[in-house]
Subunit: 131 residues, 2 copies
DNA sequence: TCCGGTGTTGGACACATTCTAACTTTGGAC
DNA sequence: GTCCAAAGTTAGAATGTGTCCAACACCGGA
């Protein structure tokens, strides 16, 4: 399913700007910031404005096609992977890597009295080992 | 051990400003932002500047007396609890609650090939059940 | 074709944080 | 006790991320 179809299915009118943003952000598994999306999208859509990038990202988040994650200081990153998973943050490069849900087991969350847990993830920080 | 002793032990000259910040931030188990520290500290030290609050917080972090946490969008929060623990973020109030390390068990982190994990925590988001 | 709604744009604004440059305080050296 | 260099503090400027706004452009149905 290509970007046009994805937008159509979500009831989003597929303007060139929205297509450019959606194609970039929904395809990769990097965890780009809004500004990284803006920079990337300018190649295919040179006149796009920062406001439209922010508007489109918010739209995609509200429609459930994209998730926001609070993983880096001072910026929001966007995540096209919508199924539950964990994150490893490389403290040197800032790069964020997905860790599959099945790779880690977390026990005890359902027994935390007083907390109604809507979302849970393990956040790991460290260095990615060079190959 | 009071704040003066803590600062002395870390080799930090105990100015009135630093004492006010340290007394507030090291005592509580809330997870205040820099601005919340600034507001709180003005009661005891009305002339303190934002720059000094930021300087002192960074100093405490660098000396290992305080930790920074990336848990809320757009702001850094500070954490006086230096032993490993997890966090529950109330999505309504923004309040952050500590979850004891022993309350949750995480398995599999040591088998993640390619990642050198320096730090690990479970981040839970949801609503705190009202009593 | 016309028109109202929708989308886009650049710049203004808001907020968190860092930087800067001047001023103040401090703790020895003498 | 005086003096000085180092350390600390300060207000405000600068930077960076994100939102808001008002004007303009586009589009789809009457
Ligand atoms: Mn959200
Ligand atoms: Mn840190
Ligand atoms: Zn992810
Ligand atoms: Zn904590």
């Amino acid at each position: 399913m290509n970007a046009i179809e994805v937008l159509a299915q979500a009831g989003i009118r597929p303007t060139p700007q929205r297509l450019a943003v959606a194609e970039f952000v929904l395809a990769g598994r990097t965890h780009p910031t809004a500004d990284e999306v803006f920079a990337a999208v300018q190649h295919t859509c040179p006149t796009i404005s920062r406001a439209t990038v922010y508007n489109t990202l918010r739209l995609l988040v509200n429609k459930g096609l994209l998730r926001e994650q609070v993983l880096r200081e001072g910026v929001t990153v966007f995540d096209a992977e919508r199924t539950a998973h964990h994150h490893f943050v490389d403290e040197e490069t800032g790069q964020i890597h997905d860790v599959p849900w099945e790779a880690l087991k977390v026990y005890g969350a359902d027994q935390l009295g007083g907390f109604e847990v809507h979302d849970l993830q393990v956040v790991l920080r460290g260095r990615r080992r060079r190959a």
